[in-house]
């Protein structure tokens, strides 16, 4: 899965979808995930990077990142690669 190509994401985590006109604010970790996705990192790589950086259980991180992906998908911010 990858971020929609025309999405505008600011350093502060403000996300603007120019196709729908919707805007969102992500928290610090959400912004970090989105920025890693912008660098074309895979979800597995993102999970590994976050696990290295933060003091968190692997299962908990797995669940939180997956939930965040669902949130992004429900708001039409990502697309699944076929």
């Amino acid at each position: 899965m990858k971020l929609n190509k025309n999405l505008a994401v600011s350093e502060t985590g403000f996300i603007f979808n120019p196709t729908s006109g919707d805007s969102f604010t992500a928290n610090e970790i959400g912004t970090e995930i989105i920025n890693l996705m912008k660098e074309s990192k895979s979800i597995a790589d993102i999970k590994t990077a976050l696990l290295d950086k933060y003091d968190v259980e692997g299962n908990q991180l797995e669940k939180d990142v997956d939930d965040f992906m669902v949130l992004l998908r429900d708001n039409n911010l990502i697309q699944y690669e076929r």
Partner: protein, 350 residues
């Protein structure tokens, strides 16, 4: 030394910058923003309390004109009187209800030196909401299924065909969503009492509303098209804030509309993007929308381009606009004196 700019006098209607605003003030702002001319703006008002009459920096002079119901002759006589005093170069009508008269009058106005840039009567009628379904079918647009009815007794059969919820629409304005036959019947009576018959019964399309302000050159070309999504809607369904979007589907629809109709002038496409991603045309408004100044802010000055085309100049189509540009409307209590109000209400000039 700077070359002397061309002097231009433009007359504009729709000065009612109220909670359900006319486009006049926004059109004037666009024309004034264009650096190609020194413009004198003549406001044409119907009522004495239209805010655009009194707003600073909007009109240089305002004249009251007769309501459309007075007929073309009364309107022409009044415009001719104003023209003798002001030498109008271009006239831009901005209300649906007055357009029919001005389209009819445009050859006579041209004869006395007033240019317009309006669709033909046939173009104007083809996109009328009563004919919209046929129009969509003919030109390959998604349009909601609809049936035009004249009697409440036709409702049960139509409702069975379209299913619930359905939308009951007045001939000119207003739409009511009905979930049951009783609600649909009530809506029929309410709307027919207000606007007369026929009544339009339409399939309900659930989705996101998108509006496109566009300008056709009258030869099938699109000079400008800017899509906008309403971000805040008033209880009258009017946009109080909106944002420009990036989506080629909507630009393509505007181009296709201009090509199919050879539309001459400004118009607004009201689109419903259904949940399964189909862009339905819900209505085509035959003039600039009240939010037209957003097109200027986004880099496509549609009102100025219309003036240039009305004056016979070729205008190159715009090819880009700023995405994510917002407009936010606001209220403002303007203070004026009874003398000013008296001028327009007693003498019809301000």
């Amino acid at each position: 030394m700077n070359a002397k700019k061309r002097q231009l006098t433009v007359a504009v209607t729709g000065l009612n910058a109220i909670d359900s605003p006319g486009p006049g003030v926004a059109v004037i702002r666009g024309i004034r923003d264009c650096a190609d001319w020194d413009v004198r703006i003549i406001g044409l008002s119907y009522e004495s309390l239209e805010p655009g009459i009194y707003m600073e920096g909007v009109c240089d002079k305002v004249y009251q004109i007769p309501y459309p119901a007075a007929g073309t002759e009364a309107i022409f006589n009044r415009i001719e009187y104003i023209h003798e005093k002001e030498s109008i170069d271009v006239l831009i009508p901005n209300f649906d209800a007055e357009l029919y008269n001005f389209i009819k009058l445009s050859p006579k106005l041209e004869e006395i030196g007033i240019h317009t840039f309006l669709p033909t009567t046939a173009q104007f009628e083809a996109r009328d909401k009563i004919n919209l379904f046929e129009f969509g079918k003919k030109h390959g647009f998604y349009v909601p299924k609809q049936v035009v009815i004249y009697s409440v007794s036709e409702l049960p059969k139509v409702a069975e065909e379209l299913g619930y919820p359905l939308v009951v629409k007045g001939k000119f304005y207003d739409a009511i969503i009905a979930q049951t036959l009783e609600q649909a019947q009530k809506a029929f009576h309410k709307l027919s009492a207000k606007w007369g018959t026929p009544i339009i019964v339409q399939e309900f399309i659930n989705g996101t509303e998108i509006n496109v302000a566009a300008l056709g050159d009258g030869k099938g070309g699109t000079i400008s098209a800017v899509p906008m999504r309403k971000m805040y809607i008033t209880d009258k369904g009017k946009a109080w804030a909106g944002i420009t979007l990036e989506d080629d589907r909507f630009l393509e629809m505007a181009r296709k509309f201009c090509k199919a109709t050879k539309w001459r002038g400004g118009y607004e496409l009201e689109i419903m993007l259904s949940i399964d991603g189909k862009p339905y045309i819900m209505e085509v408004n035959p003039r600039f929308p009240a939010w037209i100044y957003l097109t200027v802010g986004a880099g496509q000055n549609q009102p100025a381009a219309l003036v240039k085309m009305a004056m016979g100049h070729d205008v190159k189509p715009y090819d880009k606009y700023a995405i994510g540009k917002l407009f936010i409307r606001y209220s403002w209590d303007l203070i004026t004196d009874i003398e000013d109000f008296q001028k327009i209400s007693a003498f019809g000039e301000y």
